[in-house]
Structure formats: structure tokens, C-alpha cells
Amino acid sequence: MSGVSPRLVAYAQVVSFFGAFLLFWEYGVRYFEVKSYILPPISAIAVAIWESRDQIFEHSMYTLAEVLIGFIAAVVVGIIIGMIVYVSPFAQRTIYPLVTALQTTPKSALAPLMIVWFGYGFVSKVAMAFLFAFFPIVVATLGGFAGTAKNLEEHFRALNAGPWTTFTTLRLPSALPAFIDGCRVAMPLAMIGAIIGELVGSDRGLGNLIMLGTASSRTDLVFGCIIVITLISLVLYAAIECAAKSVWWRGIQV
């Protein structure tokens, strides 16, 4: 195998592993005669996705909008709270511990409440996405601000830098890597939040489609939705990774 590059070997390993997995799924369920409402063969799932593509696309866009709006709201509110806690010692004593404590609340338990408050429609799902994404972002942002190097702070003090200059020139860029880490954790969580909201009560969205599929024993469609949800999450995560690349000074100590 001396002529083959190690990269190619690595790719071949990955492809053959997943190929074998899919083949095992496809022929395993047939061989063991697994009922299709328990686990349909992978080809049936592909067919279901293709046949319901318009429906899936429409529900996907709905869910995607919930996730993005909830996530962006979490980013905005997270940064605002991070800044308030940074400038106000009072907020540091009150809001910071409160946020840290609320972080441990199981957010899924809030889904029925969100539906009572905001109805069956769009807003309650945005609220769920927000609740799931908010805590990792705010905790990471606060940690980022707090983690500004002490020697740099002293350097800025020696230069008589004002609070706003210190914030924009020093604190904000220092906190960015931690903030991006928070977004990285929060993005898939926003999707989880929106789906849980839809499962608990909704009239549209991929979570709603899963409920419809389950009720009519369309397990192939349910699997199709799960695959699409996973793909959307992966794309969103990749977008965050791209943004993270512009914050290249993560972990660089000079």
C-alpha cells in the first residue's frame, strides 16, 4: 500500500464504515423482518423524503425561522446582559447568580408553559429556541469579559483609558472567543428547543410533522424528518464554525 496516500486511506475507511452501516440497515431489517413502522429500510426513508419533499421543505423553513430568530434573540439579549453585568456591580451581585442558577432549570419542562403564554403558533417555539440558546451564550459571554488578562487591564489603566475605550478595545475582543464558544454550544440547542416546542403543541414545523407521522404510523416520514433536522443543525453549526475562524486569536497567549 506504499503508493497510496494516508489521506486516501483515511477517506476509504470512513466511506466503507458508513457504507457498511447503511447496507446493514437496509438488508438487516429485511433479513430479520423488522416491521416497517418500527424501523423502515433506509431506502424507504429516502423515498419518503423525496415524495414528501414539498411538505418537508415548507415545514423545515418554518422550523428554521423559529431556530434562527430564537438564536439571534439569545445572542442579542446575551450580549446586552453580559454588558450590563460588566458595567454594574449591582447586576453582578444579582443578575449573574440568578442566570447561573436558572441555567440548571430543565428547559424542556417550560415548553407547556410557553404554549400557555404564547399560543400554539410561531412565538412559543421562538421562545423555546431562545430559552435553550440563551444560557450558554450569556454564561460564556460573562466568562469572556471576566477572563480579560489582568496585566492588560493594568496596562490600560496606566494609559488612563476610559471605561468605553477599555470595553471596546480590550474587553470585547478578549471576550469574543468565549462568546463564539457559547454560540457553538447554543446553536444545536436552539434547534432542540424549537423541536421540543413543536412536539408539545404546534400546527406546523418539522416537530409537528414528526407527530403527524407517528400518529399515522409513517415511521419512514418520521425518520426523514429526523434526518432533515440533523442536516439543518449541521449546516447551522458549520456556519458558526466559519464565523469562529475570524476570531483566530482564541487561545493565543503572548
Binding site: N151, R157, A158, L159, N160, T165, T169, W249, I252, V254
Partner: protein
Amino acid sequence: MSATATIEANKGGAQPAAQPLANHIEAKGLNKHFGKVAALEDINFGIRNQEFVSVLGPSGCGKSTLLRIIAGLIPYESGSATVRGEVIHSPRPDIGVVFQTNNMLPWLTVRKNVELGARIRKMPAQARDHAVDKVLEVLSLSKFADAHPHQLSGGMRQRASIGQALVLDPPILLMDEPFGALDALTRDKLNVELLRIWQEHRKTVMLITHSIAEAVFLSDRVLVMADRPGKIIEEVVIDLPRPRDAAATRALPQFGEYVAYLGKIMGVTK
């Protein structure tokens, strides 16, 4: 008055006229405690305009604390500390500080880092660009202006840190073990460079160090400190001819004598 002096100094390195013998920095009966621990006890000294004074002492003797008080970064309990006759209560624009840890922001280029002080102090853009160019040239960093700090060696980063202080051309320079984290060879080179800069652009310098050779080579006077509590136990005038030279000065018999003498004082006090 300090503002005028700074502007004058920025224009062409012109020093404020008059009183070359007046004390630029002065401490009288200065005391500093951290909780119940006495960090500094009855500190008395003066540093004249354009004088190069080193404060030499074992680690933990409070010499960095002393520098931070003069820099206006921390308060003191009793006695007095003045810069150009004014009581110190906050950082002053006519003082540049170089710390042991280089204070480069990793996300800014060397040029932007050196520029930082001038930006924060709101120096006009044209004067700022000119000052930055000059400082980068003096420190042989022009070629690395667009590099980021992590791409530089430790010695170059420390040079850039000195540039951060020099860009405002402050008449007073406080340096807290600026070469303490460097290897001996780089340290020697930077000593020579600092000496050259000081000989060309005379400034009042207070250098904190624990290197005896560094203190003797650079200083007009050395203040020796002892620890627990930190106090000045000896003042040694380094009467070596100026301008000094990397090789010739270190080869002088008196150089060795000063080093030996200071070594003896510090050894005895330990």
C-alpha cells in the same frame, strides 16, 4: 503643566527646559501595607530629571509595588510620593510604563499595538503615525509592523512593549523588570538597545530589576532594597563614564567592582 510638557516632548523629543537637578520623582517616608503585611516601610529617594536609576532587590521585596505607586496604579498609606512636585493619585500622561509581561493585544498588529497608547491618549492622527514610524525604526521593528505578536520572538515582543511606552515620548519611563522573562543573551542585547535609546532621547528612568549587571551597566545610581518589609538599604552611585559601550564598559575593572560590591550587599541581606 504636564500636558504642555508632553506636547513639547512629542514634537521633537525636546525636553522641558530648566531644573536638570530637580527631582522628577520623589518619595518621602512612604509606607504601604497589604492587609497587615508591611510591603514598603519608610521609603525615601529622589530621581533627578534625565537620571537613570535602578531599584535592585530580591523578588518579593516590594520593588514592583513601589513602581506601581509611582505609576499611580495603586494607593499608599502614608508619607508622600510626588512626580514633578505633584502628589501622585492616578496614572499621569507624562509617565510611560513598561511591565515585565509584555502587554501586546494578540488580535492587533505590532503597529496597532505600538499605536495603542497614542490612540488612547488621542494624539492627532498625523503626529501619531509619525511617532509610531519613528519608534518602530528606533526599535528595529519596522519590518514587523504588520506582523501579529504571536509571530514574534519574546525579545521582539518586549521591544514592542517598550515601543508602546515610547510612542508618547514621555519624559519619565518606569520599567518593571522589562527583561525579566527573557533569556540572558536577548536580555544583554536589549540592555544595549535601551542604553542607546536613553543616550539619544534622555528620559528620567526608574528601572526595577533583580539583575546586578543590568543595574550597573545602565544606571547612574542603584537603590538596593531588602525585603520584609521592603526598604531601601543602600544607595550606590555608579560612576562609570558615559556614553557607555556594550563591550568596553563591561570590561572596565570598576564595572566588576560595582557588581561585586552590590552582590555582597545583596548576599549579606538575604
